[in-house]
Each structure stands twice: as structure tokens, then as C-alpha cells.
């Protein structure tokens, strides 16, 4: 019985992540439009787009290889698995011990690897532009994430996300290192999701795009999967920030339905707040030059490093 309940909870979390991710994108678009005095499309719109794309015929470039056709499934699956390993409304779910924070980051790295390869498969210059920029950003963003992971796990004594969340919820501590790790994680999250100062999710300018450039030749269900994956990635990062730094309201896996309902409510609220801040940040800023991004990410990396150093300050006392 217990096993069944755990399985249901885990499955519910996976489906919840999948269902919420496009809504999240729709919500942030809506907020941005409202901030610009526009009406904006309905929140459900990304889901409609995805479903429409799924029904469409795929137009493949003549020299697309098997890699190009299988990459969207792999990217989607890896991102989905990574996203469902992050505690959303409850900690310690069934499969949460299967992979720790490092493995989640690495799974996203794999997804990036395949996306970059898919971008180069057709042999057009835009795919190459996107892939090479992504490789440059990724080579700085991942070490920065690893440093954040170090900081957090030095503090919590584990790399297991559920345990980290439990530790953070249990020991209210204000630490400079944790604060810096948060700032660094925000920087990385913005870069990894291609949000405004790094990449423009609403852009149509072929020459400045990163993510959109890689997927330029994709269409139909493949495009839908990649869009879904990128929505899931955004959800993952917000959930990650929420569960590590603001673990308020998270339910334990054995806490029963009521606690889980509270956890769910808190989770949705956290997502909404995160999105609101994101929309505000995005409207107030212009995209930076491509070669400013390494500086930006470098700052994230340095902050991560600094955070790990500072862990020792209080630790030693």
C-alpha cells in the first residue's frame, strides 16, 4: 500500500511538472505583456501551440540524419527526468535517491549536448551559430552550477536534493555563502534558460539567437518536444531555487495527503512569485552583447567559488 502511494506520488509529480511547465511559460508571457500595457495571449496558449504542433506534419531537411530525429525525444526525456527528480511539493519521493543534484545538472548537460549536436546536423549556419554559442555559455554555466552545488552541499552535508531541502527547512540559517550561491544560481538559471539579458525567448532575429537558432530547422512534433523541454527546464530551475533556498511548505513523502496539498499550494505560489520576478527583470533590461555573457556567467562562477570559500568562515568558528 505504502509502495503504491509512493509510486502515485512520484507519478503525480512527474505529470504535474509536465502539465505546469508550458503554463509557466504562458504565465510569464502574460505578465510581460501586462507590464507593457498589452493584453497578451491567454496563459494556456503554449499548451495550445504544443498540441497544434504535435498534430502537424514534420518537414525534415533533406539531409537530416537519425541523430536529428531522435535528439528531440532524448532531450525531452532527459529534461523531464531531471525536472521530476527535483522536489516540487514533497521531499523524499520514491525515485529521488536515484540521482542527486550533480546528476540532475549532468542530465541537463546531456540534453544540451544533444541539442547542440542536433543544431549542427542540417549543416546550416544558424544551427552552428546557436551550437557554438551554447557550447561557450555551457562551458561556463556548468562549472558555476557545480560550485553552487558544492556550497549547498557543504552547508547541508549532502548532495541529495530531498535531504538538502529538509536541512534547509529545518535549520533556518542566514549565511553569506548561501546568499551568494542564490545570486549565482539566479545568474545561471537566466543563462541556462535563455532568458533576457542572455538570450531573447521572443526574438526573431536569426543572428542573435542562441536556443532558437539551434532549433530553427525543427518543425511539428519535434519542435513541440523541444519547446516542452525548454519549458520544463525553466520549471526545473525555479523549482530548484524554491526547494533549496525557500523550502517553506514542502511536505515529507510520508506526511499524508493534507500536507501534500499544502505543499502543492505553496509550490504553485512560489512558481508564481518566481515568474513575477522574472517578468519584471526581463522587461527592465536589454539583452547583452554576446561577449558580455561570459563576463556575466563568469561573475556567476566567481560568486559560486566565493560562496564555497565563505562556507568555511562560519564553519570554522
Amino acid at each position: 500500500m505504502n509502495f503504491l502511494f509512493d509510486l502515485v506520488a512520484q507519478g503525480a509529480q512527474m505529470l504535474l511538472a509536465l502539465a505546469l511547465a508550458p503554463l509557466l511559460i504562458g504565465f510569464v508571457r502574460k505578465l510581460k505583456a501586462r507590464l507593457l500595457h498589452r493584453k497578451g495571449p491567454p496563459i494556456i496558449q503554449p499548451w495550445r501551440d504544443i498540441i497544434r504542433l504535435l498534430r502537424k506534419e514534420v518537414v525534415l531537411a533533406e539531409n537530416a540524419s537519425w541523430l536529428y530525429r531522435s535528439a528531440p525525444y532524448l532531450i525531452f526525456a532527459m529534461t523531464w527526468v531531471a525536472a521530476s527528480l527535483v522536489p516540487t511539493f514533497a521531499t523524499g519521493l520514491m525515485f529521488s535517491w536515484a540521482a542527486d543534484l550533480i546528476a540532475i545538472i549532468a542530465l541537463l548537460g546531456s540534453a544540451r549536448f544533444f541539442l547542440a549536436l542536433a543544431g549542427m546536423d542540417i549543416g546550416t549556419s544558424f544551427g552552428g551559430i546557436g551550437s557554438s554559442r551554447e557550447a561557450m555559455f555551457g562551458s561556463l554555466a556548468e562549472p558555476a552550477t557545480i560550485m553552487i552545488v558544492f556550497t549547498v552541499s557543504f552547508v547541508a552535508g549532502t548532495t541529495q536534493l530531498s535531504e538538502i531541502a529538509a536541512y534547509m527547512a529545518g535549520n533556518l540559517e542566514l549565511r553569506a555563502s548561501v546568499g551568494m550561491a542564490l545570486v549565482a544560481l539566479l545568474i545561471v538559471a537566466i543563462a541556462e534558460n535563455g532568458r533576457v539579458p542572455v538570450d531573447n525567448p521572443a526574438t526573431h532575429l536569426e543572428l542573435t539567437m542562441v536556443h532558437e537558432a539551434m532549433v530553427l530547422e525543427y518543425s511539428g512534433r519535434y519542435l513541440a518536444l523541444i519547446e516542452l523541454a525548454s519549458a520544463l527546464k525553466l520549471l526545473l530551475y525555479i523549482s530548484l531555487i524554491a526547494c533549496v533556498f525557500f523550502p517553506v511548505g514542502l511536505a515529507r513523502h510520508d506526511a499524508g495527503l493534507q500536507a501534500m496539498a499544502i505543499g502543492l499550494g505553496a509550490y504553485v505560489l512560489k512558481l508564481a512569485i518566481g515568474e513575477g520576478l522574472l517578468a519584471l527583470f526581463e522587461t527592465s533590461r536589454a539583452k547583452m552583447r554576446v561577449f558580455r555573457v561570459p563576463d556575466f556567467l563568469g561573475a556567476g562562477l566567481m560568486l559560486g567559488l566565493l560562496a564555497t570559500l565563505l562556507v568555511f568562515v562560519t564553519r570554522s568558528l
Binding site: L54, R55, V58, V59, L60, A61, E62, N63, A64, S65, W66, L67, Y73, L74, A77, M78, V81, A98, A99, D100, I102, A103, A106, L107, G109, S110, F113, A116, L117, M120, D121, I122, G123, S125, G127, G128, S131, S132, A135, G138, S139, E142, P143, I146, M147, F150, S153, G157, T158, T159, Q160, E163, E217, G220, R221, A224, L225, F291, L305, F312
Partner: protein, 309 residues
Amino acid sequence: MNGSGERSIERLGGLIHSMPKTAFLFLGGCVAISALPPLNGFVSEWLVFQAILLSPSLPQWTVKLLVPAVGVALALSATLGAGCYIRAYGVAFLGRPRSEAARTATDPDRWSLGTMAVLLTMCLMAGLLPSLVIDTISPAAKDFVGGRMPTQAELSWLSIAPVAESRSSYNGLLVFVFILFSAYSARWIIHKFGSARSRRAPAWDCGYIETSPMTQYTGSSFAQPIRRTLGVIAFSVKERLDMPAPGDMRPARLSIEIKDRIFDYLYAPLTRAVETCASGLNILSLLTIQEYLALVFGALVFLLVLVAI
């Protein structure tokens, strides 16, 4: 690379069509070496990170602070490695062939393929079932370092946990099954309820029909952003650009100079040091405020380093 007879990466391309089996195996190798899950490279990286995470218990201050730096160097090299293999694989195997040799390349004979396949399978096994491998090699490791990790095989579901399960654990097999399951279920659902049709057409590429393989990113181009970001620090990379004015028909020209900084800054100054010493005292009185500050600052940092050591 025998199959194509080309050595320069800039003349390959599209080998995934002409050498499909090699392309698949090579991709596996790239994933493994780039330390990406679920293959073995990631397991090793993961274990190293876990080791680093134990570092706060070390007694020495300097070592303590150095360990995270090692961690960041490791992570940086892993991701740069991944970027490098994206470049190698993307330029050589993907896209359109850049030369006739690349177009007509063929897979090597069965033995070479077989060897590669065996190696890849081993990579996969080590990635999926790391606990078995760790247990197998731990007696040997014990001889080397005098310690060993807890036995992994008795942990449930073939996962690994070097210290304790509550601290960290990783289960390659489960993650792999998970990924395969999601990918296939997504495919099944889409084909069942969505659409499974597809059609071939020329690549979109902004509507200009251009068949020249010149439009693909070259290896050098792919590396340029990273070269520009990191290369300027490590080596002194200079791009020299000669762009003719509009209306001028002569070819534009780009040349790149890469100099090893270590050589320049270590040896060349030595030869110059003697003359500098002679005139140095005179210059000292002509420094700007900024240079004075730099001097004082350098001295301060030097003293602090002395104190630290």
C-alpha cells in the same frame, strides 16, 4: 578516419550518412568522454565530486581552500571537453560533406567496428552498473591508497552511495531506464494521438537556396567564441582583420595569431630584466597615480601572501 582518407577536420562533414555505424559508436565515445550520464565518464566525475565534498573535514586551511578550486577546474575541463567533442562530432560527422572524400567515405571493416562496439558496451555497463565495477576494482584500489569504499553491491537497486545513502547516491540504471521509458512513451503517445507523418524538403535557412557546404560552421568558427573568451587569458590570441571598404573588390582577410603566454612572460622578461633594472629607478619618479597604487597594492598582496604561508 581511415574511411574517408581525410585528416583535416575542416574537410570532413556529413560522415553520419556515409559511415553510419562508426558515427553511432563515435557518438557513444563522445558522450562517455564528455562525462555525461548515463555512461561511465559521468560516474567517475561524480565520484571525484563526492570526494571533493568530503574536503571540509581536512585539517589544513590552505588545502581546504584549494579543494574547491580543484573542483571548479575539474568542472570547467569537463564542460570544455564536452564543447570540444560537440565541435569534433558536429563538424566531422554532421552537416553536409565538405569534400568528395567525405562524401564517399565508408565504414571500416567489421573488426574495427567490433572493437569499438565492445569498448562502448563496456562504457555503458560501467555507467549503468557502477556498483559492480567499483566492487570489482576496489581490492586493487585498496592496495594503492590503503582505503576502500563501502561495498556497493548490497545497496538496493544497484545504486551507488560512497558514504551513506542519505548523503549522496546515484543509480545509473534507474536513470537510464527512466530516460528510455520517457522517450519511448512520449514517442508512442505522439504517434498515437498526434501525428507521425513527415516529409523531406530543402533546409529552410532563410529562404536562400545555397548548396555550398561553405555555409556550415567550420571547426575554427565553432571554437571562436570559446577561443575569444578563454583564449585571451591562457594564450595571447590576436585576430587580425582586413576588411575592404564597401565597393572594394579585393578579398577580405582574417589571420589569427596564437602565442603561448607562458613563454612570452617567463623567458622574454628575463632577457629584458637587466636593462629594465638600470632604467627602472628613473621611471619610478614618473609613474601615474594609478601605477603608484598598483605598486603599493602589489607589495601589500605580496606581504599578505608571505603571512599566509
